[in-house]
């Protein structure tokens, strides 16, 4: 086991994937010589050369579109979109081509493309550098979507994503790039928990708190604070957003009967809405109270100094926990 930051763990995962399969390519803006603006791909150019580590022109649609062509040719491209807010020019290629080519050709053409996206906020960044666009991709059939919350998952799930024959949109919370954690670099990806599995990262009995990405850390903090009030929160890290591991989720809900979902992304039609709809369908008879979402507001991402009012923090989470426990809370007097 090694202590690695998430950024280093991702880099190690890429290195390992490229070493294991010479059809794996890495491509994106500034990822070669510079090693990426977050240094995730640092060292890869030196080790694998410019044919496999490609500094692309500044054109996201072009990056993803040429990745499609490379996949036609039998390569496994790993695309880096420099920032979440810049994925939109590539949206057409992702949604109309990457996601649909397998279906269009009845499986004759595969798109084993991994699209890595430094993602989400809490880093005091300029506009367009703190986006949470995961819902668009979760809603697109043909894509797998995952979000990592810790260095170990970053390492193994990235390798699993690259190994998957399906396209994977891989969200990396940039806020956690420098957070360290234990990483087993020798883990076989087939032995590790599968990419599609959710994980109970903290057991509890009173409330199920569903979340993903950097918000897992906030959720765990909230659970710790809740202990002081005698509330036992079970935190579930979804890890995979498409598909969602409802087996793990519903087992938790059947145990606690109370659900809070939290994510940075905006509330309306966010992943939380889907989760709660599904949880309600599957676990209606176990629910003690109506599930609650704690999310970003339905606003464009606010300026850096104000982002703390937008990001759902520990207090907002616990306020929602109060609600599902029928304790007095901020919404007690307010209609939902």
């Amino acid at each position: 086991m090694t202590q690695l930051t998430m950024g280093k763990a991702l880099g190690a995962g890429l290195q390992r994937a490229m070493a294991d399969d010479d059809r794996v390519l890495v491509m994106g803006e500034d990822i070669g010589k510079l090693g990426g603006v977050f240094r995730i791909t640092d060292g890869l150019l030196d080790e694998f050369g410019g044919a496999r580590v490609i500094d692309t022109p500044l054109a996201e649609s072009g990056i993803v579109g040429t990745a499609v062509g490379l996949a036609f040719r039998g390569f496994r491209p790993v695309v880096e979109i420099q920032f979440d807010g810049f994925v939109y020019p590539a949206f057409d290629q992702i949604v109309c081509q990457v996601a649909k080519l397998h279906y269009r050709t009845a499986g004759k053409v595969r798109m084993p493309i991994t699209i890595r996206i430094p993602w989400a906020g809490g880093v005091g960044a300029a506009e367009h550098h703190s986006e949470s666009p995961e819902a668009y991709f979760v809603h697109t059939a043909g894509l797998r979507v995952v979000a990592v919350s810790n260095p170990q998952d970053a390492y193994t799930m990235l390798r699993q994503a690259i190994a998957s024959d399906d396209p994977v949109v891989f969200f990396e919370p940039k806020r956690l790039y420098h957070t360290k954690g234990e990483v087993d670099l020798d883990a076989h990806i087939s032995d590790a928990p599968p990419m599609g599995l959710a994980r109970v990262v903290r057991e509890g009995s009173d409330v199920t708190l569903l979340t993903y990405g950097a918000q897992v850390t906030t959720a765990l903090d909230a659970a710790t604070a809740a202990e002081d009030e005698g509330i036992s929160i079970e935190v579930v890290d979804l890890r995979s957003l498409s598909p969602v591991d409802y087996r793990t989720v519903t087992a938790s809900v059947r145990k606690t009967g109370r659900v809070v979902v939290t994510h940075e992304a905006a509330r309306e039609a966010g992943v939380g809405a889907e989760l709660i709809a599904s949880v309600t369908e599957k676990c209606f008879h176990y629910l003690e109270s109506a599930p609650v979402r704690v999310t970003g507001h339905d606003i464009p991402y606010p300026p850096a100094k104000l982002e703390k009012h937008h990001l759902p923090d520990l207090d907002r989470i616990l306020d929602a926990v109060d609600r599902v426990l029928d304790r007095p809370n901020s919404l007690s007097e307010v209609a939902p």
């Binding site: 998957s164 928990p193 599968p194 990419m195 599609g196 599995l197 995979s240 598909p243 591991d245 409802y246 087996r247 793990t248 519903t250 087992a251 059947r254 145990k255 606690t256 009967g257 369908e281 599957k282 676990c283 209606f284 008879h285 176990y286 629910l287 003690e288 109270s289 109506a290």
Partner: protein, 458 residues
């Protein structure tokens, strides 16, 4: 054979076309794709190529006619068995009426079908149950080893409105047996439970049990020891047990016994039976006992009271809500007669009859099952003489009546065969002492021994 060509959608998005000009006439030999007509839509003139090679047999419309898409246009005499009749305007839709008007990118929206909207028949099959099953993770997403999903605690299953009801009634869903699909506790289940075993909110919990009710669930033979039968502790039994425990270990129980000669009561009852004015009213021993109890309680209010720990007070009731323990299929219930003290013997008897009937049908209402102040339990019907009944929680006393036996007794100085019954009174020693309990019992017994002594009480 005859092959027909109906006007197809022409890519113009319009539902009809006017025949401008026929290029062929009946009897003409026509090649495949040969232009047979020009039609005009609101937008343009379009040439129609023949879908068949053959001889024109009939033109269904004339030049100048406006034809709707899907209408028969022209018929051909063609060779061969299977002309592969192309049916224009649809991709083998079962519905004849469905003709799709195309737009720039394809067939276009299907038109609304004529007639009243209707469901497809389900062929007599039941609609599949709502799928709430959680799929096993696929091999790629295989569940990591080590997760056992059978050793988990699961909450009782119900719906939010029913949960609210249970909460309002103070009913613990864990104790309620579910009758709904897939083990869901229904509203009826909660109401029925509260009816049978009482609602803690009204402090009238399940009554004492003497005769065990039939198990609420069928015993399950486990794989283990074939000579052991395991019955899950659930539902009514569980609730009753809990209440008994609560009662037994809260109130200090004392039981006193008195055996009394009830021959005169039996004679009285006999005389009622042949009294035509009392036809239709079943007056039995229980009714007389109930009357005696009500009368006696007016003299001994301490036995018609409640120990209220929370408020630090003893509540003495100015009325008697007389509970009668009744054994039903589901278990023991103790519905009570409100204001039993205000009823005369006939009224009491009728109330008892009604109460028993309703209880046997399992339809005792919530109101009946709550608010009792004193209870009677008739274990005599099971053929035993005495017992130590457990108080209905919240009540001060419970009188058990045994079987009426014909046995030798002292009567007017000699030994005679008399109807004898034993009374077993349990009372809460916090609320009444031995003397008070005994006196009460004596008063009841006196009425039974000499019904006329009821006139001494009020």
């Amino acid at each position: 054979m005859i092959a027909q060509f109906r006007l197809p959608d022409l890519g113009e998005g319009l539902p009809e076309a006017e025949i401008v000009h026929w290029h062929v006439a009946p009897g003409d030999t026509v090649a495949l794709n040969q232009t047979i007509a020009e039609v005009e839509t609101a937008k343009a003139i379009v040439e129609l190529p023949s879908p068949f090679a053959g001889v024109v047999s009939e033109l269904t419309h004339a030049a100048g006619d406006v034809v709707a898409v899907g209408e028969l246009l022209i018929s051909f005499e063609v060779d061969g068995e299977d002309p592969a009749t192309p049916e224009p305007g649809r991709a083998r839709d079962a519905d004849e009426d469905e003709v799709q008007t195309p737009n720039l990118v394809g067939y276009g929206a299907a038109p609304r079908s004529a007639g009243r909207p209707q469901r497809r028949s389900r062929g007599g099959r039941r609609a599949p149950a709502g799928d709430t099953a959680v799929l096993d993770a696929a091999p790629h997403d295989a569940i990591a080893p080590g997760i056992a999903d059978d050793v988990r605690y699961e909450r009782p299953r119900s719906t939010p409105p029913v949960r609210k009801l249970a909460k309002d009634l103070g009913v613990d869903l864990a104790l309620v047996e579910a009758s709904g699909v897939e083990g869901v506790i229904t509203r009826a289940d909660v109401e029925g439970y509260a009816a049978r075993v009482g609602s803690p909110r009204a402090a009238a919990d399940p009554g004492p049990g003497i005769a065990p009710a039939a198990p609420a669930t069928a015993p399950r033979a486990e794989g283990g020891n074939p000579r052991e039968t395991r019955i899950p502790i659930r539902g009514v039994r569980k609730a009753t047990a809990a209440a008994m425990v609560r009662s037994a270990f809260t109130a200090p129980h004392v039981t006193t016994f008195l055996t009394v000669d009830v021959t005169e009561t039996m004679e009285l009852i006999e005389s009622f039976r042949s009294d035509r004015r009392l036809e239709g009213h079943r007056i039995g021993v229980l009714a007389v006992v109930a009357k005696a109890v009500c009368l006696a309680l007016s003299r001994h209010p301490e036995l018609n009271s409640r120990w209220e720990e929370a408020s630090g007070e003893i509540v003495q009731f100015g009325y008697v809500n007389l509970g009668i323990a009744a054994a039903t299929d589901r278990g023991l219930v103790v519905p009570n007669i409100k204001g039993a003290d205000a009823l005369d013997l006939v009224g009491l008897a009728d109330a008892l009859t009604e109460l028993a009937r309703v209880a046997r049908e399992g339809r005792s209402g919530l109101d009946q099952l709550t608010g009792g102040t004193f209870s009677i339990t008739n274990f005599g019907v099971f053929g035993v003489d005495a017992g130590t009944p457990i108080l209905n929680p919240g009540e001060a006393g419970i009188l058990g009546i045994g079987a009426v036996r014909r046995q030798p007794w002292e009567h007017e100085g000699a030994v005679a065969l008399r109807d004898v019954m034993t009374l077993s009174l349990s009372f809460d020693h916090r609320l009444a002492d031995g003397e008070q309990g005994s006196r009460f019992l004596r008063d009841v017994a006196d009425v039974l021994r000499q019904p006329g002594r009821a006139m001494l009480l009020r």
